[in-house]
Structure formats: structure tokens, C-alpha cells
Amino acid sequence: MTAFDEMSAAPAGNGVRPPYQAYKRWLDAVPADLLARRRLEADLLFRRLGITFAVYGEGGDTERLIPFDMVPRILAAKEWRRLRRGLKQRVRALNAFLHDVYHEQAILKSGTIPADLILRNTQYTAAMRGIAVAGDIYTHIAGIDVVRTAEDQFYVLEDNCRTPSGVSYMLENREAMMRLFPDLFVAVRVAPVGHYPDALLQTLRENAPAGCPGEPTVALLTPGVYNSAYFEHVFLAEQMGIELVEGSDLVVKDDVVYMRMVGGLKRVDVIYRRLDDAFLDPYAFRKDSMIGVPGLFGAYKAGNVTLANAVGTGVADDKSIYPYVPDMIRFYLGEEPLLANVPTYVLRRQEDLEYTLDHLDELVVKEVHGSGGYGMLVGPKATKEEIAAFRGRIMADPAAYIAQPTLALSTCPTFVGEGIAPRHVDLRPFVLCGRAMRVVPGGLTRVALREGSLVVNSSQGGGTKDTWVLEDDAAQDIAAGEDD
């Protein structure tokens, strides 16, 4: 399977695609030993940043030092505008869906999505039924994973509507690139991403409860130092200039949330929580949660505090719901989806089940509630025995599975060993929803460093790249990310 290359457009072409031309000219002119030197510098830089950050996780440096690749992943302004429109449309629909399933349930009544798929979903949080949230926004920060297979073919691989992480890499990678190659940024007009923390803070403030008087107080709630994303929590809280709180720093009195400060209790209006629903409040959810805030959900229900993201958003990004997102877009917005889903076989449907069982050796089969690659069959890489075993599991409970063709993810030139070679990439842009929707031009590009590998996860040899969105002459809108 030959993949589309983001720089050369191979296999279709063999030139240099326009967004990469300025970079390629620079790359061809730059002496090889300078690149080698910069690679060493980059290592040192990240080790230093890494050490600064890695001290949090008990796992130490290794956990944090996700390899950074110096070749940027570049998108033209017009590609980005197209992506951005699609992302906003998708997240608008996901928010409408979340509001609907916790209120009127029109989409279920219309039969567009089977009611039992939602109501019996473990991610459906009955406690959220009928609860009003500020601005009817549920997923304030969404990370949408996008892959590309051809010049004009982008697919959404996955929606992340709960507590998507990785944005700190987007910011740090840019910092590193600007430090390593200042001349490149003179030669190429790259849209800035450094204002993401400001955009995030503004978004969070815009989502303050309706009755909030004056400037809303925002805090970031972290599970604590042992969480693997703790460095990102520290980083974002610092960049936004807000308090980084743990559960024990918050106290709820008469359905109002306060932080324990040295000057006394201070009311909190918006909580950017990086804590899973189950641990938020031992009174409402898991009783054994030591990291939550007793009474928090009560304050939330009373409308005295905004949680970002809202409780119960997992029902929108569940794998079993994913195949229906295009239908959601049509149902709520009356529009055709601008970004396609990966074609997905829903095995609760008889015809999809039959097709899948006939083509197991070509397909990727995923368990709908599984995550992180558990309960997954990668047909082309599986042995006959594995396929046979998986067939048994599917037949026992077809509704628990979906299947997708294996996609030829696009590749991007990447430093490997002694030279530069194509490696597969994906992209996670972050969509912010307040009174306006904002998408900072860029995102997290993950790259599978092993030759031929399609797995970009950092636990499996994945690295990251800086993501460039080029500015064109009509670029005003790009940095603002607020048009359309």
C-alpha cells in the first residue's frame, strides 16, 4: 500500500507540493552538518525542557521525552481553511448532539441513531438529564484526530470530547523550531500558535455561569503530580495565569465552589478540569475518589460553576457513536459533512457484519468501548489463528464491534538514522467553543517513526512534529481562527 506523501505528492507526483516549496529550497541549501548539529541541539533542548517537566511523573525522563522530529508538517492556508470549516462544523454538531441526548432526544425519536445505542451506553450519564449548562456547550475543548490519504482526502479518525491532551506539544514544538531555525521563519510565513493559552482562557471565561458577576475566576483542576499529563496541566495553568488546583484545594459550600487561598476562600466560576468524570465528585460518582471534590456536581447542577468539558461528553466520542457523526451533522445543522468519516462497518447491522466476516483479513476491527488498542484486530497483520479467534468473538456479540478499512495514512519526510525518509503522520487540531469557536492554526502532528508503521501513539514509537499552517495574502483570519 503506497501512501500519499505530503512533500512530494508521491505516488501520484514526484515534485514538491506548493506548501513545501519554500521549506524544500531551504532544506536543499542548508549544509548537512548544520542539520546534524541542530539535531543534537534539539535533543539537548528537549532534554532540558523534558527534565524541567519530567520531574513530575515518577516515571522520570523517559515518560516525557517523546521524540521530536525537526521536519515540519506543512499545510497550505487553503487546506487549513477547509479543515477548519470541517472541524467547526463537526464540533458544532457534537455539541448539539450532547445537548439533545440529555434533553429532548430528538435524534433518537427520529430514529437517526438507535436509542438503545445511546441510552445503554456506559458513557451516557443519566445524572446529566435535564441539566442546563452554560451556553448549551458541552465539549469546550475538542481534539479531533484527522488523517489524510490523498491530495483532497482528509478523514476524521476519532473525536476526543472529554479531556483531550497534547496541546502543550504543539506549543513547545513551535518554540523549539523557532529557536533552532530562526531563519526558516523569516523565509516562510508560518501562522503563529503561541496565543493558544489566551484563546483557551477567553473561551473558558466565555463559558462562565450566566449569573457570574464581574470577571470570572478560572482554575485548572488536575488529578495531581502522578498523572501522566501533569506537565501539561502545569504548563497551561502557568501560561494562562490561573491557579492549578487539586481536589483538596476546592471546597463546596451551599452549592458554591471555592478555592482555599492564603487570603481565605475564593469563589471559582469555571473549572478546566483534566480529571475524568468518574473521579470528579465522590458524592455523585465514584465514592472511592480521593482526588475529587465532594459536592462539586451539586454546585454544577445548581448552575454555580462551569465544568469544561461538561460531564457526560464521553457519549459523543465513543467508538460506537462515531459512525453516526455525519448523520448528526445532517440532522442538527442541515448540512453535508465537510470532513468525511473513515468508512465504517457497524456490525450490529446484518449486511455490515456479513461483509466484515468475509473480509477480516483486510479490515481493522475495533471493540466499541475499548481504547488504546485493546480488543482490536488488524486484519492484514494478523495470523490465521488470530483472525479465527476474533471471528468467534465478533459472532458472540456483533454489536460490540465496528470495522474499518486500513487506511494508507499520508507520509511526511522525517529524520531517521542518517537521512530523511517518509513516515506516516496524523493530526490533532484543537477546537475551542465559547461564544465564538476558535481553532489555533496548527495542532499536534504525530509521526510513526518506525518504517511502515501506522501507529503514531507515543507508547509505540511515535514522535511529534511542529505543524505549520502557512499564511497567504488573505491570512487575517488564520491566526484569529474565528471566521466562518
Partner: protein
């Protein structure tokens, strides 16, 4: 600032100061043990005294038993099962710093982290081989460096204030303890004051709080217990004296009171203690009894620490 952050920073500096105090206690014991050969042996064993000053004598008796030089150095410097050992203090300081990484400057974090990492490469055998004094000096230097880095890089806000409070409270506590124990345990009797043993022991005590030269500069006279007590308790210009510590503590608390516009019990408590030191008189203190005075000061410190915690670190 979050109360938890204030609490962590306050304890971070307390632990660093405590590690330094441990090193000073061990240093003086080591010096005194070397002077025995000169025929100046005191009636009390200096290693026993080190344990008492450190407040670790009971724990040592239970966990180790026989008092030997090596066992005491090990217990006070390295023992992971002694929460007051230099090792345990630096670990606790680093843990607090790590949790508060966002509140302190990179330089401050690196200073404590480097000290901790370096300590992990040391063992009693290595320290003994290089001469333990070098190790005690190293601990004190690291503590000075840590404070200096914080002083030179931290913005003057809540974080800095609570760090200073921790340092000063711990220092006041350690000075009071050193003086109290020396005076009542080490000294043979007041009648022998002025003798050779006395000279070396008081000299060692002054040295242990970096005060020997200061004493000489100020008094230009023989080392007399009352003057030592005066220097360590009442002199505002000696930075480890109770008076100097309380001037600092009170001024920080006053600043916090001004900033938050609240009436804090801890501020009044500190003020009362400061007044006794500011207007105190060494003769009057000796009339009542130095031990009684120091015991009251140590209890007062504990009470003040609890009041600060109630006022700032555990607001209802």
C-alpha cells in the same frame, strides 16, 4: 496563592533549614570528639548530646541502641527511617519543591534538586573516607546556596513570604534547642564556667551556629555563657538569634495582614513573642531561668507554627 502551595513552600524551606541544623549539630559533635585527646573530655558524651539536641535520642534508642560516632552520623545524616535525618529532610524539601514547581523559579528548583541528586551519590563510607566535616560543610553550603538563589530570583510575593517564614521559624526553633540542650546537658555545672572544657564547649556551640567570630567581634572577651545566651537570644544583629528571626517573622506576617486586611491571631502571637525579645534583658532571663525561657520559646514557636497554619494554610 493557594493554601496548599503556601503550606508546601513553607515546609520546603523548613526542611532545608532543618537539614542544615542537623549538619551543624553533627559538625559540633565531630569537633568536640576530636578535642577529647587534649584531655578535655566533658562529662557528657558529645554524640549523645547531638541526639538530644536533634530531638532524636528516643528514636535512636529504640531503633539503633548503642551510641557510637558512626551510628549517630548515620542516623542523623542518612537514615531513611529517621524523618529528621539530612537525607529525609532534603527528600521532603525536594518533594515539596517538585509539587510546587510552578510556584518557584527554575533556579530555585534546580538548586534543591541538584542537592538531592548529589546526596544520593553519598554513603556513610564515602563521607567517612573524605572526612565528615567536608560533608557537613557541603550540606550548609547547599542550604546557603538554596536560600541565596531563592533570594536572588524569587518575586516578592506570597511564595517568597511563606518560604521566608519557614526558614525563620525553623531557624528560631533550632537556635533555641541548641542553646537549651548545650546549657543544661553539656555544661558540667555553672561553677565550672570559664574553665578550659567550658571554653571549648562554648566555642564549639558558637561555631555550630556560625557565631564564634561574631562573638569575638562583638564582645572582644572570653566566652561567657550569659553573653553566648545574649547573642543567640537577644541580639538583633546576629542573623540566627531568636530576636533576628522574630523580627523577620513579624514583618512578613504584618505584610500579609496588610495585604489581606484581616485580623490574624498568628500576627498578634508573633508580635507578643517579638516584644519579649526586643525589650528583653539577659539578666532578667537568667533570673527566671534560661531553660524556662527557652522552653517557653520552643513551645511558643510550635504554637505560632500552628496558628500560621490555621490562618493561611487551612482556611475553613
Amino acid at each position: 496563592m493557594l493554601s496548599r502551595a503556601a503550606d508546601n513552600l513553607y515546609w520546603m524551606t523548613r526542611y532545608v533549614e532543618r537539614a542544615e541544623a542537623m549538619a551543624r549539630i553533627l559538625d559540633v559533635a565531630q569537633r568536640m570528639s576530636l578535642q577529647r585527646n587534649a584531655g578535655l573530655a566533658g562529662k557528657s558524651d558529645e554524640w549523645e548530646a547531638a541526639l538530644i539536641i536533634a530531638g532524636c535520642d528516643k528514636a535512636f534508642a529504640i531503633r539503633r541502641g548503642r551510641v557510637t560516632r558512626r551510628a549517630v552520623i548515620d542516623f542523623l545524616a542518612f537514615a531513611p527511617d529517621n524523618p529528621s535525618s539530612i537525607n529525609a529532610c532534603l527528600r521532603a524539601a525536594r518533594e515539596n519543591a517538585r509539587a510546587m514547581r510552578a510556584q518557584i523559579t527554575t533556579e530555585t528548583w534546580e538548586s534543591i534538586n541538584a542537592a538531592w541528586l548529589e546526596l544520593q551519590g553519598l554513603t556513610l563510607a564515602k563521607v567517612d573516607a573524605d572526612g565528615p566535616q567536608a560533608f557537613f560543610d557541603w550540606v550548609c553550603e547547599r542550604s546557603h546556596l538554596f536560600r541565596g538563589v531563592a533570594e536572588g530570583t524569587m518575586p516578592r510575593g506570597d511564595a517568597y513570604n511563606f518560604m521566608r517564614l519557614g526558614t525563620l521559624l525553623e531557624r528560631a526553633d533550632s537556635t533555641a534547642r541548641i542553646l537549651d540542650v548545650k546549657y543544661h546537658i553539656l555544661l558540667p555545672s555553672l561553677g565550672e564556667v570559664g574553665g578550659a572544657i567550658d571554653y571549648y564547649q562554648w566555642g564549639a556551640l558558637l561555631r555550630s551556629v556560625s557565631a564564634l567570630r561574631i562573638y569575638r567581634q562583638i564582645y572582644r572577651d572570653a566566652i561567657l555563657p550569659r553573653r553566648v545566651a545574649e547573642l543567640l537570644v537577644l541580639r538583633a544583629d546576629f542573623p540566627r538569634s531568636l530576636h533576628a528571626c522574630f523580627e523577620g517573622i513579624f514583618s512578613i506576617l504584618q505584610r500579609l495582614r496588610g495585604h489581606y486586611r484581616r485580623d490574624y491571631p498568628s500576627v498578634r502571637l508573633a508580635e507578643g513573642m517579638l516584644m519579649k525579645l526586643r525589650y528583653g534583658d539577659i539578666e532578667a532571663i537568667f533570673d527566671v531561668g534560661l531553660h524556662e525561657f527557652l522552653t517557653a520559646a520552643i513551645d511558643g514557636n510550635i504554637e505560632l507554627g500552628a496558628a500560621i497554619a490555621r490562618d493561611f494554610m487551612q482556611p475553613a
